[in-house]
Amino acid sequence: MVYVLGIESTAHTFGVGIIDSKFNILSDARSVLRPSGTLGIDPGEAAEHHSRVAVNVLLEALDKANLKLKDIDIVAFSKGPGLGPALRIGATLARGLAFKYNKPIYPVHHGLGHIELTVHLTNMKDPLVLLVSGGHTAILAFNEGRWRIYGETLDITVGNLFDSFARRLGIGFPGGPVIERMALKGKRYIELPYNVKGNNVVFSGLLTHATDLVDKYNKYDLAYSLQETAFSMLVEVTERALIQTDKKEICIAGGVASNNRLFNMIKTMAEDHGVKVGRLEGDLRRLNGDNGVQIALLGLLYYEAGTPATDLDKTFVYQRIRVDEEDVPWRM
């Protein structure tokens, strides 16, 4: 049996996940930073948090998996995209482990982790993927060796949109779940800017406008209208991409995949095309959020595909890096 340890540190979450080569999830330890200020996440604050909790999260993961460090066969870490200082905490820990125990190391793409984890756990063969999280908002399908982007946000992500709006309402991080609950109490749709360009979405106008209306309207109606507008845009571009790619399955991945309204809208749209929709359900739902398990999974997939491990002095981190720049050898 091969054991893989994955380290996640792109944004708020510091996570360590351990899986075995049958993809049994042995542990999923995490510590999530609750930002202190009202401005959202500060890279320095995130790095500070991660370095404070790193060792404990690591020990917790090993303890739950009932393994010792020397039992680990492969180390993987999130190389980006994310906040530079936060990324470096995870990378440094991973390099240290790989060096000390002389293990292969794989720097992997965080967004690719969301995608592959969800596709694997939903047992989908060749889906269109709607990746919706704090760091990503994109529609992808596998084509010629890579996950190609068929549509995406041209400015902020849907996660950012909800978190920023929630901050304006004085709600803590993460804002998405609270907005979902508030939206259920909304009764009236307030007209907000709807901006779709080709297969892409633009959210900043929506955010500005909704924020300006906070003191003028019922906040439940506003939450409903904001969510409804953002999701209608996403479902529309997903439908466009679905027709262009002719896929038979849709998989929703990332933190916002937990939102039931989004899931139901996508399902309603997909029914018209006879297309199956999947997302993580039940206990697995927690894996929609950032975690070390999806990082470990990628480490395992590269390893099994025969990709050579990365030299320690080439294990860089990237604040910006697109999913469609990543080779996906296990799907070829």
């Binding site: 980006g80 530079g84 360009k197 080709g198 409804e228 479902v235 027709i243 749209m269 910006r320 697109r322």
Partner: protein
């Protein structure tokens, strides 16, 4: 009138089911026409749905009329019901540019002519505040005489800023890169060469275009 159109639909032949509209081929008083109906979407709030169907039908009708005045080849608008989400326009016989390129059915000369013309036509729309919003090689029909026609204006913006114009240009380049990868550079150069020749404020639009292109949607940035 809506009922009349519904009657037409029964006689028409469905030729395309898009993400938001169905397209029927229809004999309308002896002329070959296209009937475009934007369909309701069950997944979204009724007021958003009503708003989108109306505003897109309106925008498309408006742009078809302006295009005719500006000498930008596009179907001629024959009938519009904004509330019903219905347009009737002249039928353009020909092939979709995307297919012609993918199947290698155009000579280099024809390609250069088409992409230069496209640059000129887009600049005319932009100079009048109109961005297309979904400029792709699927939304261009090449007639038998190798003249190009622009279609599908539902995502147009009628009052566009320079930023929106540069987004229109940059998104078109991305479509070329993803759909016509091998020849994208060449096609885009023909297009942009003619576009900047006629656009009213080329420096500002090119400046914004470069910023969007650089803004990091493209390449990895090591930290």
């Amino acid at each position: 009138m809506e009922n009349v159109v519904v009657g037409f639909v029964n006689k028409g032949r469905l030729i395309h089911k898009g993400a938001e509209a169905n397209i029927y081929l229809l004999d309308y008083m002896g002329e070959a026409t296209v009937l475009k109906i934007r369909v309701r979407k069950k997944y979204r709030d009724k007021s958003i749905d009503r708003y989108l169907v109306r505003s897109r039908t309106y925008k498309e009708a408006y742009v078809l009329e302006v295009a005719e005045k500006l000498g930008v080849p596009a179907p001629r608008l024959i009938y519009a019901s904004i509330n019903g989400g219905i347009l009737i326009m002249s039928y353009i016989g020909g092939e979709i540019l995307r297919d012609l390129l993918l199947h290698n059915m155009l000579s280099e000369k024809e390609k250069e002519f088409i992409f230069r013309r496209l640059g000129m036509y887009l600049s005319r729309l932009h100079n009048n505040g109109i961005t297309h919003g979904d400029l792709t090689t699927s939304n261009i029909i090449i007639s038998g005489k190798k003249e190009l026609y622009l279609i599908d204006f539902g995502l147009a913006n009628l009052n566009s800023s320079d930023e929106e114009k540069s987004v229109d240009v940059e998104m078109f380049e991305r479509v070329l890169l993803s759909t016509h990868t091998g020849e994208a550079g060449k096609l885009f150069r023909w297009f942009i060469d003619e576009y900047v020749r006629y656009i009213e404020n080329p420096d500002e639009i090119l400046r914004r275009y470069r910023i969007i292109k650089r803004s990091g949607r493209y390449h990895a940035q090591k930290s």
